[in-house]
C-alpha cells in the first residue's frame, strides 16, 4: 500500500468513477427529480398534459398506497421461504461436496449450478409450464395414481411456487461460493478433529460452519437483496393464474405505476423509497451479522 502522492490512482479509478456517476448517480438524481414532479391535465375534454412541480405529493401518495404495503407483505412472505431455503440448501450441498466419501461430486456440482445459467424470465416460464395443471407433468403423475393434481397457484402455495423458482436459480451459485471458500480453509484445522474420531457431521457443524461465517454473511446479504428486488418470477407467472396480481411485489407495483399507469413520477417516488429502504435494511443486516460474528469470535 503506498501513500505517496501520485496521480496514478485517480487515473486508474477515473473510468469507473465516470461511468458510475453517469449511469448510476445521475440517473438516481434524475429519478429524485422525477419524483418531485407529475403530469397534470389542463384544458377541457381530453386536455393536454404538462409536467408540473408537485413537491412531496408523489411521496405522500406512495406512502399512502395500500397496494404497496400489501406488496411488501407478500414479498416478506416470499422471502421468509426463499432466503432460508436457498441458504440452507446451498450450505448443505457445499458441506456435502466438501465431505469425504461422497459420490458423484463433480456431476452434482455442475448440475446444481446449471440453473444459475438460465435467465429468470425463461426459468419462470419453464416452471410455469410445470405448475399449470392441464400441462403439468407433476399433475399428470398425480392423476396417474388417482390423486388430484396439486394446486400450485393456491393462496398459500403460490408463495412456495414463486420462491421455488428463485431457490432453483440461486442455490447453485451460493453453493459454489461456499464450497470454494471451504476448500480454501487449511485442512489442518480439522484433520486433528478427524483423527480424534469426531464425526463428519460434527466437524461440519463445529468447525466448518463457524469458519464459513463471513462467506455466509455476504451470500445471505446478496440473497436478501435478491428478495427485495424480486420481479421477473412473479411477473412472468402472473398471466397464467388468477392468484398473482399486477402489484404482487413492490417492484411489480412500481413497474405498474411507471409502465401500465404511465405515471413515471409516482413510480420514481416509490422506487426512491424502496431503494432507501433497501440500503437501510442491508446495512442493518450487515450490522447484525457483524456483531454476531464478532461475539462468536470472542
Amino acid at each position: 500500500m503506498t501513500g505517496r502522492r501520485t496521480r496514478a490512482p485517480y487515473v486508474m479509478a477515473a473510468p469507473a468513477v465516470i461511468l458510475f456517476v453517469v449511469f448510476i448517480v445521475v440517473p438516481i438524481g434524475y429519478a429524485v427529480w422525477l419524483s418531485l414532479h407529475a403530469m397534470r391535465v389542463s384544458g377541457a375534454g381530453l386536455g393536454i398534459r404538462a409536467e408540473v412541480f408537485v413537491g412531496l405529493g408523489n411521496y405522500l401518495d406512495a406512502v399512502k398506497d395500500t397496494a404497496l404495503y400489501e406488496a411488501i407483505q407478500r414479498m416478506l412472505a416470499y422471502g421468509v421461504i426463499m432466503v432460508p431455503v436457498t441458504m440452507g440448501l446451498a450450505l448443505l450441498f457445499a458441506l456435502l461436496l466438501d465431505a469425504p466419501r461422497v459420490g458423484g461430486k463433480r456431476a452434482s456440482r455442475i448440475t446444481i449450478f446449471l440453473p444459475y445459467a438460465v435467465p429468470g424470465v425463461i426459468a419462470s416460464l419453464l416452471w410455469g409450464f410445470i405448475y399449470l395443471p392441464a400441462v403439468s407433468p407433476i399433475g399428470a403423475a398425480f392423476k396417474a395414481v388417482g390423486l388430484d393434481a396439486p394446486d400450485f397457484f393456491g393462496d398459500v402455495s403460490v408463495f412456495f411456487s414463486v420462491a421455488n423458482i428463485a431457490v432453483w436459480g440461486s442455490v447453485g451459485f451460493n453453493m459454489v461460493v461456499l464450497y470454494t471458500t471451504l476448500r480454501a480453509i487449511p485442512k489442518e484445522l480439522y484433520e486433528a478433529a478427524r483423527l480424534d474420531g469426531a464425526s463428519e457431521w460434527r466437524i461440519a457443524l463445529r468447525i466448518k460452519v463457524p469458519l464459513l461465517r463471513p462467506a455466509l454473511t455476504m451470500t445471505s446479504v446478496f440473497t436478501l437483496i435478491g428478495m427485495l428486488q424480486v420481479f421477473s418470477e412473479p411477473a412472468t407467472l402472473r398471466p397464467m393464474s388468477n392468484t398473482i396480481t399486477q402489484d404482487w411485489v413492490p417492484l411489480m407495483r412500481i413497474y405498474q405505476q411507471a409502465f401500465v399507469d404511465n405515471d413515471t413520477y409516482l413510480g420514481a417516488a416509490s422506487s426512491v423509497l424502496l431503494a432507501g429502504a433497501t440500503v437501510l435494511l442491508s446495512l442493518a443486516a450487515l450490522a447484525v451479522f457483524r456483531s454476531r460474528s464478532a461475539r462468536s469470535e470472542r
Partner: protein, 279 residues
C-alpha cells in the same frame, strides 16, 4: 472400508442434482415435440417424431434467422460488456487496494451503496439519459450501463488487496517502473484468476439481463436472447406454435453459458464473492 461411498450424503447430493435438472429435462423433452404434440402428449417423456429437428429448423428460419442474430447479440452484449467491466473494475479495484488517496473512502462507500439500488429504479432515467446521448437503440445502450458494476469493482479490490504483494510493487518502484506499468505487468497477471471470475459473473449477469435491453431496444434485430424469447413468448399466447420455438430457443440459449462455465471452471475463484481470499 475407507473408500466406500456413504449412501445418505451421496443420495442427498444426487437429489439436489435431480431437483436442478428436472425442469431442464422438461425443456429437453418439450423441445422434441412438434407444436400439436406439446400440450397433448405426456410432458414427462420425449417424442421421436422428428419434432426436434423440425423445431430447430423452424426456429432458425423464424424472421429470417433472427434467433441466431439474438444469440450473436447476446454474445456481443455479454462478452463485450463483461470484458469492459473487467478492464474498468480491475483498474479501479487495484487503485482502491494499493494506494491511499483523497476520496478513496467516498468512492468505495458510494460503490457499495450502488450495489443496493434496484435496476428498475434506474431504467427510465438511464433510458432518457442515453437517448440524450443519441445512444438508445444501439449496442452501446445495453453495453455501457452494464460496464459499471460496483460489485465487480468490490471483488477486484478484495482480490488485489489479498493477492498483490506490496513488496513486489515497492521493488518495482525502486527499479524505476511507472505506476501503470506496475499495474499492467505485476497487478494484472497476479489478479488473473480473480478477473476471470469477475468476467464470468458479469457475463452471466448480462446474458440473463432482461429489463435493461427490454427498455433500451425497440428494434428486434438488436434484441438479446432474453428479450427476443420473451417477445416470442408474448406472441405465443395467441400463436402457441411459437411456444415450441420458445422452448427450443430456451434450450439453445442455455448451451453457450454451460459451455463457458465448463470451459472456465478451473479458473474460477468464487470464494472471492465471499470476500475470504487468502493470498
Amino acid at each position: 472400508m475407507r473408500t466406500r461411498t456413504k449412501i445418505v450424503p451421496t443420495l442427498l447430493l444426487a437429489l439436489g442434482g435431480v431437483y436442478a435438472v428436472l425442469p431442464l429435462l422438461w425443456v429437453i423433452f418439450a423441445s422434441t415435440k412438434s407444436s400439436d404434440e406439446l400440450f397433448t402428449t405426456f410432458s414427462g417423456w420425449p417424442s421421436f417424431n422428428g419434432g426436434f429437428t423440425e423445431n430447430i429448423a423452424a426456429l432458425s428460419s423464424y424472421g429470417g434467422g433472427r434467433f441466431w442474430l439474438w444469440m450473436l447479440n447476446s454474445l456481443i452484449y455479454a462478452g463485450g460488456g463483461a470484458f469492459l467491466t473487467v478492464v474498468v473494475s480491475a483498474a479501479c479495484g487495484y487503485a482502491l487496494a494499493k494506494y491511499r488517496f483523497t476520496g478513496q473512502r467516498l468512492i468505495f462507500a458510494s460503490l457499495l451503496a450502488g450495489v443496493l439500488v434496484p435496476g428498475i429504479t434506474l431504467a427510465i432515467p438511464q433510458y432518457l439519459l442515453l437517448s440524450q446521448m443519441n445512444l438508445v437503440g444501439t449496442y452501446w445502450s445495453v453495453i455501457l450501463p452494464s460496464v459499471i458494476s460496483p460489485y465487480s469493482i468490490y471483488l477486484c479490490r478484495i482480490y488485489a488487496e489479498a493477492a498483490v504483494p506490496d513488496e513486489i510493487l515497492e521493488a518495482g518502484r525502486v527499479d524505476g517502473a511507472g505506476e501503470f506499468r506496475l499495474l499492467w505487468s505485476v497487478g494484472v497477471p497476479i489478479m488473473t484468476p480473480g478477473l476471470v471470475t469477475v468476467f464470468l459473473l458479469q457475463f452471466i449477469g448480462i446474458w440473463n439481463n432482461f429489463l435493461l435491453p427490454y427498455i433500451m431496444l425497440a428494434n428486434d434485430d438488436l434484441f438479446p436472447l432474453t428479450v427476443g424469447l420473451y417477445s416470442l413468448l408474448n406472441r405465443g399466447a395467441s400463436q402457441p406454435a411459437l411456444y415450441t420455438l420458445v422452448i427450443s430457443g430456451s434450450l439453445l440459449s442455455i448451451i453457450p453459458i454451460v459451455a463457458l462455465f465448463l470451459f472456465l471452471q478451473r479458473f474460477w475463484r468464487l470464494d472471492l464473492v465471499a470476500g475470504s481470499v487468502k493470498g
